[in-house]
Symmetry: C2
Subunit: 293 residues, 2 copies
DNA sequence: GCCCGCTATAAGCGTTCCTGATGGACGATG
DNA sequence: CATCGTCCATCAGGAACGCTTATAGCGGGC
C-alpha cells in the first residue's frame, strides 16, 4: 500500500478513468493500470469495476482510508517543512464563514493578510497541510467545551469567542413573541439545512433533546455560504435557522429568539499547527496574541 | 516520505541505534543508514543526532507524525482485509479496565472469547488494526455525550452504559459525611494520578470548575491497572480517587461520595470497525446485539 | 595507544517500475 | 449487423531504485 499507489487510486476513482488519471499524474496509462493491478493484487480484492470505472464496495472503503492517509502525509510534510522555512511576513488564514465576526476580524494584522473562507470541515485540513498559517473554525458546543474537530494532524486549538445561539423565525411565527426558546419547543419544526452557511444541526441531536435516533426534519437545503441568504430564507418561512445571536439579531424581516435550553453556545476557535507553539514572533504570533488578549 | 523509511526511522529512534534497528527489521546496517539519509535529504532537516543516536527537535515531531501515519496505514490494511476474510467463530475484545463491569461482561458470548485489557488510549488502535474485533472504552463525559476518542481510523462508537461518578475518601476525611460533593469543594484536594487503573482527571479540568489553566494537584502516581489497589491507596489517605459509583461503593475502609457537580457520568462505549456495520451474523454481531438490548 | 563497535560511503547487482507498443473488449454509430 | 474508436490489459525493454557486501572514518573504553 504505497502512497504512490493510493494517490493514483484516488485519482482514478475521482476521474473515473485510467487514462485521465494518467494525464493528470504525469504517468502513462500503462503505469496507472499497473498501479491499480498492484493494489488489487496486494489486497486480494477487486477495487474498481472497469467500463464504467467505479469503485467496488471495498474500493469505497479504501477511498476513505486513502484520503485520510494522504492528507495526513501532506500534513506531516508541511509540518516538517515549517521547521526549515524562514519566517514569512505574510499571514494566510483559513476560516469557516461564521468564524469571521467582529472579534476575529479585529485581530487580523493591517497588511499582508490572505483570508480564505472554506467549509467548516476543510479548515483543519488547510492548516494541517500548510495551505494556511492559521485557521478559524466555529461550531456548537457546551459552554467552555472545546469543539469536536476531526484530528487530521496534531493541531493546537484555542477558544477565542463564545456567544449565545438564536433561532431565526418569521415574524408571523407563533413562537416569534417568546423571549427564549427551548429546543423541546421546536421538535416538530422544519429546519433549514445549510451546512456551509449555517450551523451543523446534527450536533444538537442525540446529545440533548431526546433519544439519539430522532433527527431534525429539514425543509430546504441551501448549499451556498451566504448567511444573509440563509436569514432571508428563514424570514420567508422556508424553515427555521440557527445562528449566533449577534448575527441573528441583524436579520431584517425576521425575529431572532435566543435558545435557552439546552445550554449551548456558538464557539470560535483558533487553529494552529502544533509546531508553531514556540514561535515567538512574526505575523502568526501577532495574530494569536491579539486574539487572546 | 515512504512508509518504509518512516518505519525504519521510528525503529531507529526507539532503539537509539542503527545497527539494532537493522537487526530488528531484517535489513543490513547500511540500508538503515541510507534510509535515514534519504529521509533527511528529502526533508532537508537533520532528524537524528549520531553518537548518541537521538531525535532532534524536528525528529521528535516526525516521530509523532510517523507513529500516527503507520498506525493509520495498518488500520487501513486491516479494514480492507476484513472484506476478504471469512467470518470467524471467535471473538477478540480489547477493553480498558473500567469498561469491564457487569453490563458489558454479561454480553460476552459463552465461548470463544479472548479478552484483552489495555490502557484506555490503546483500545481504539487495537480495534482499528484488527488486533481486536471489538473494543470497550470508558471515560468521563457529560450525560449522553459521546466520549472524545482519538480517531485513528473510522470507527463506529455506541454508548452502552452510563453510571454516576463518585469520589473515594478516607473514612476520616472531613467531607466523608457528605451525601454529595461538588468539584468546587475539592479544588484544594490532592488526587491520586492513576491513568491506567482510574479515570483521566484532565477531562475535568478547564471544561468545568474554573479557568482552564488550573490543573489538579496530584499526590501519588500509580501506574498499575488494579482498581482495588487504587481504592486501597485512597482509603489509606494517599489522595482522592475518582471512580464509577458502583465500583467506588464496593471499596472497603473508605467512603464513596457521589459527585453531583459538574454533571458528569462514567460512560462506556462499544467500538467497532466501521466496516462491520453491515455484518448481520457472527460472534461480533451477537455481542453487539446483546450489548444494545 | 590500541582496539572494538558504531555509522558513513562506495561499488555491484538484482529488482522494481516506468515507457512504448500491441492486443482485446466494449460501446457508439451508421 | 458491421465498423470504428476508445479504453484498459499485457508484454518486452531499459532506466532507476534499493539492497547487500565491502571498506573507510570516527569515538569511546580498556
Amino acid at each position: 500500500m504505497d502512497p504512490h499507489l493510493l494517490r493514483t487510486y484516488v485519482t482514478v476513482a475521482r476521474l473515473a478513468s485510467f487514462s485521465e488519471a494518467a494525464r493528470e499524474l504525469g504517468y502513462t496509462q500503462s503505469a496507472v493500470s499497473q498501479h491499480i493491478a498492484a493494489l488489487e493484487a496486494d489486497l486480494a480484492l477487486p477495487l474498481l469495476t472497469r467500463r464504467p470505472v467505479a469503485p467496488t464496495p471495498a474500493g469505497e472503503r479504501l477511498l476513505e482510508h486513502a484520503g485520510a492517509l494522504l492528507l495526513r502525509l501532506d500534513a506531516a510534510r508541511a509540518d516538517l517543512d515549517r521547521f526549515a522555512a524562514a519566517p514569512r511576513a505574510t499571514l494566510s488564514v483559513a476560516a469557516s464563514p461564521l468564524a469571521l465576526h467582529a472579534r476575529t476580524l479585529a485581530a487580523l494584522p493591517a497588511t499582508g493578510v490572505t483570508l480564505r473562507a472554506l467549509p467548516r470541515e476543510a479548515v483543519p485540513a488547510a492548516v494541517a497541510t500548510g495551505e494556511a498559517d492559521a485557521g478559524l473554525v466555529d461550531g456548537i458546543a457546551a459552554p467552555s467545551d472545546p469543539l469536536r474537530l476531526p484530528d487530521v494532524a496534531p493541531l493546537a486549538a484555542t477558544g477565542v469567542a463564545e456567544e449565545p445561539l438564536a433561532v431565526v423565525l418569521p415574524t408571523t411565527h407563533p413562537l416569534a413573541g417568546r423571549s427564549g426558546l427551548r429546543l423541546d419547543d421546536l421538535v416538530d419544526a422544519r429546519w433549514l439545512d445549510a451546512p456551509a452557511a449555517g450551523l451543523p444541526l446534527d450536533r444538537l441531536r442525540g446529545a440533548h433533546g431526546g433519544p439519539a435516533g430522532r433527527g431534525f426534519r429539514t425543509a430546504l437545503r441551501y448549499e451556498g455560504t451566504d448567511t444573509r441568504t440563509l436569514a432571508a430564507l428563514a424570514a420567508a418561512g422556508h424553515g427555521l435557522a440557527l445562528l449566533p445571536a449577534p448575527v441573528a439579531a441583524d436579520v431584517s424581516g425576521a425575529t431572532a429568539v435566543p435558545l435557552i435550553a439546552p445550554r449551548l453556545v456558538h464557539r470560535t476557535e483558533l487553529l494552529l499547527p502544533a509546531a508553531s507553539r514556540a514561535e515567538p514572533t512574526g505575523p502568526v504570533a501577532e495574530f494569536t496574541r491579539r486574539l487572546k488578549s
